[in-house]
Symmetry: C2
Subunit: 121 residues, 2 copies
């Protein structure tokens, strides 16, 4: 997969608008999860692999390379970590956690109120 470099053609934008390049990047499997985990704590390759429950090493390495090339992840003596840019992005992602909890509650409530599941006997 080619890197979604702002300014070049990316998914959603032939001219590579930065927001579209970002969406292309974040829209790749595991990308958000990796940034999230690294925002919690630096990690070595195998630690990260373990924290991301089921990620394959192949893909983890691919993503790390991409994030590295786009200056969001760096290697440190303590393993992989976010760059200043990466940390700034993580700050934007963080508020999604409380939102997600509310959302989850609401979906649960919707399901409870419309019990159109298998048990309609």
């Amino acid at each position: 997969m080619s890197l979604p470099i702002p300014g070049t053609q990316v998914r959603g934008s032939k001219t590579g608008k930065p927001i579209m390049a970002l969406f292309d990047l974040l829209g790749r499997t595991w990308c958000l999860g990796i940034i999230w985990q690294l925002s919690l704590d630096n990690a070595t390759f195998r630690q990260l692999q373990a924290r991301c429950e089921d990620i394959s090493p192949t893909l983890l390495n691919t993503r790390l390379k991409e994030l590295f090339q786009l200056d969001l992840v760096q290697k440190t003596p303590l393993g992989y970590g976010l760059t200043p840019h990466g940390k700034a992005l993580a700050l934007l992602i963080r508020p999604m956690a409380p939102w997600a909890r509310q959302w989850a509650d609401n979906i649960q409530r919707l399901k409870d109120n419309s019990p159109e599941d298998d048990s309609h006997a």
Copy 2:
């Protein structure tokens, strides 16, 4: 692909932590782009297809169904639009645009300072 329903197993979390369910969802091709476009303006199926430059109708329909089932997108007389939940999520996504612009500038600067490209003759 199965819906990333919070509380069920999703990518990154066997117990389905809401934030992981969200990452699973947003990590799917075009998902962020669709939410972004709908946050700008409601749109019919074909309008949305056109605005998302190269999305295939197959996938657009798949994503819309997913977003609909997860209560982020609804059908209106004016075409597809975001639900209140969807709008709240869009508000969290919006600040990514200015961040992305800065990021793009910085990547450009990095490239300019290390001209390790083909023209090293």
